[in-house]
Symmetry: C2
Subunit: 411 residues, 2 copies
């Protein structure tokens, strides 16, 4: 007998029929003798409906009151889900985030979980109930309703699994696992049976949308065994997200060098050219950008030939003109020759735990791109990732040739 | 400065524009220096939408889970209402029934309020907030979400007014007060400036739908000054519901004899004819009916000429065939000659505190009906009410001629 937390997203609870499907799946697990906690999102479309309703009243909705409204989305789903389970003859009981209590800080619309009182859930499980919990929401120390921000239901699932010391946290979604890359770009893309937390984090941060990044961090921190599965397939085994045990690297001999390829075109590149190469220049450039709450992703500084340096970084496309405006104001102060922006770029990353013990991965990547005539504009690396910025028109081509070069289509 | 509780029903919060209207009204009261607690219902149609959604999953929805779902209706409205008030520059804060806490018993879908923790609301009011509370809902001692049943928002309003010792509880609705009778039947019907609690109770129980009967009982018990007003009129004074002070009957010399005429066609008449006139017969007839949870309204027993008696009572039309089925089973046992049902009846009642000090009201009522050729099938009286059952086709006629006979169109 295992304790399993199953999280179902908005499309998996998008209609009464889908909720009944979900209930049948839970019943099959229950019949095997497992204890089940179900975490559900709002029915697809509902959260947006509520936000739009709020905006009709208040164009920039008050965060506390918006949370009060938006939290009703999951509250409806937990009631429906518990009833669907009862219709199958199971005992079931629903909880809002407040009722559990999933205690968060008071950062409305993007709250963070502080702790979970799991005693009532455990008592209900021991009494034979399936416990249904509203994802995405909690309550602060003063009883105010909070929400965790978009995708927060994944985090609720993982946090509950951690608090209950569950054997596994299953995230049901509309894909059947984590792929070597997006199958819409590379038809040969292959589902991974397992992937490490670190790789998953890199893939997620590089644009792979399977899991919310916070939930992966949470799972890693609390060593929660996490599995991504399709809610529309009956017997899929999905992708298991595992820990690599640092004491036992040899066990990873079979680990493929590269696990996956991520890509996105959400970023824009900003070049600050011909600045004097002196200490403090990076801070003088990025300080004002950070003060304006603009997130910066890649940062590269290149020494020029003439005692000046070129400083390049990427921001979200939506922030490019704001960042350029800020830099134009300080251009004189920092002594830059020119400031230039480019939002016609894409970022392509190869990710794999294996690469840290293999030399030559980077050169193979660069050669593969060069053979196709794709110019690399920026490079950034971590122990398990190499990311390059290229012209966005080559993005799909780059992903396809890299997928083939690293033989990702083969199991 | 007064403390006023204002309750707004589903049509008054039925759209963002109506919620903005509501907020402007609250702002006018606030500008006069009053402290305001606003109690809101779900947006019109929302409660039914949620119930129907539940029924798609579970034809007879689990009461606990149904309450979890249905309570979201008001939760959305409190968020919207608080934001609408903020948009006008007011400070506002919303509370669900759980958050207040409005503690109820655990009779899901028809819970009764046990107590209200009013400290947080009072603190918020003292800090200058308009406090917005979800009607219709509460929480039991174990933290389960409960609802008070249909119309329960009125009860929430009155209960909050009692707990806060408010100066007045204003119930905003789509009519502008309590009328002598339904203006759709008698165009000359007149709005009453005031009416006693007892009269209001009798009118409500006889089919006048202005206020939920429980809220009137509650107001009477806790001596809450209650006023019914239109949410679509700016300066109406509505109808004040008052206490008649039993120590001070002379102050009511100006009291009209009759305050209003109520009517309904929701009932059916069941006749049990020719039963032996012996002790215990009423119990033998009504016991099985009560066991089947069928509510009985009027009960009349007439001695017959031949040592038998005729026993007649009324039930809701929906229960008639069920009641007849039960009685047919026990007919032999009770020795009744015949059992007969009639659902083509209407009940018309005249209500007025004044009638208890005036003889001749009943005879005037009966004469008025007789002059129109309307046969009276049953009569039942209380200290402040006379109700008759007649053929339903005469209902409107009866109401009109009685309204005229008792000069209700005159102020």
């Amino acid at each position: 007998m295992a304790l399993i937390v199953q999280k179902y997203g908005g499309t998996s609870v998008g209609s009464p029929d889908r909720i009944k499907n979900l209930a049948r799946r839970v019943a099959r697990f229950k019949a095997l003798g497992h204890q089940i906690v179900v975490v559900v999102s709002a029915m697809s479309g509902e959260t947006n409906r509520l936000i739009n309703l709020a905006k009709e009243i208040m164009p920039e909705p008050d965060p506390r009151e918006l949370d009060v409204m938006v939290a009703t989305g999951e509250q409806v789903t937990i009631g429906l889900t518990a009833m669907a389970l009862m219709e199958l003859g199971l005992k079931a009981k629903s909880y809002t985030g407040s009722q559990v209590r999933i205690v968060t800080d008071n950062a409305h619309t993007k709250a963070r979980i502080l702790r979970i009182d799991e005693e009532r859930i455990r008592a209900d499980l021991d009494a034979g109930n399936v416990v249904v919990v509203a994802g995405f929401q909690g309550v602060d120390e003063n009883g105010n309703i909070t929400t965790l921000g978009r995708g927060g239901s994944d985090t609720t699932g993982v946090a509950l699994a951690a608090a209950l010391k569950a054997d596994e946290c299953q995230i049901y979604t509309d894909v059947d696992g984590v792929y070597t890359t997006d199958p819409r770009v590379v038809p040969e893309a292959r589902r991974l049976k397992s992937i490490t937390f670190e790789e998953m984090l890199e893939l997620a941060s590089q644009g792979s949308k399977v899991l919310q990044i916070r939930s992966v961090e949470f799972a890693g921190k609390y060593k929660v065994k996490l599995r991504v599965l399709s809610s529309f397939e009956e017997d899929g085994e999905g992708t298991l997200i595992t820990f690599e045990d640092p004491e036992n690297k040899d066990s990873n001999m079979e680990q493929p060098i590269i696990s996956g390829i991520a890509f996105n075109r959400d970023e824009a590149k900003i070049m600050v050219l011909g600045v004097p190469d002196k200490p403090g220049i990076a801070y003088q450039i990025l300080g004002p950008v950070a003060d304006a709450k603009i997130d910066v992703d890649m940062i590269i500084q290149n020494m020029g030939a003439d005692g000046t340096t070129d400083f390049t970084f990427t921001v979200h496309k939506n922030d490019m003109s704001k960042a350029l405006g800020i830099l134009n104001q300080v251009q004189g102060h920092i002594g830059a020759r020119e400031i230039r922006g480019d939002d016609k770029i894409a970022k392509v990353s190869i990710v794999g735990v294996g690469m840290r013990s293999h030399v030559g991965i980077a050169s193979q990547m660069f050669r593969t791109l060069a053979e196709e005539g794709i110019n690399i504009q920026m490079i950034s690396t971590s122990e398990i990732k190499i990311a390059v910025v290229i012209d966005e028109k080559y993005m799909e081509l780059a992903v396809r040739v890299l997928h083939k070069a690293f033989e990702l289509e083969e199991a």
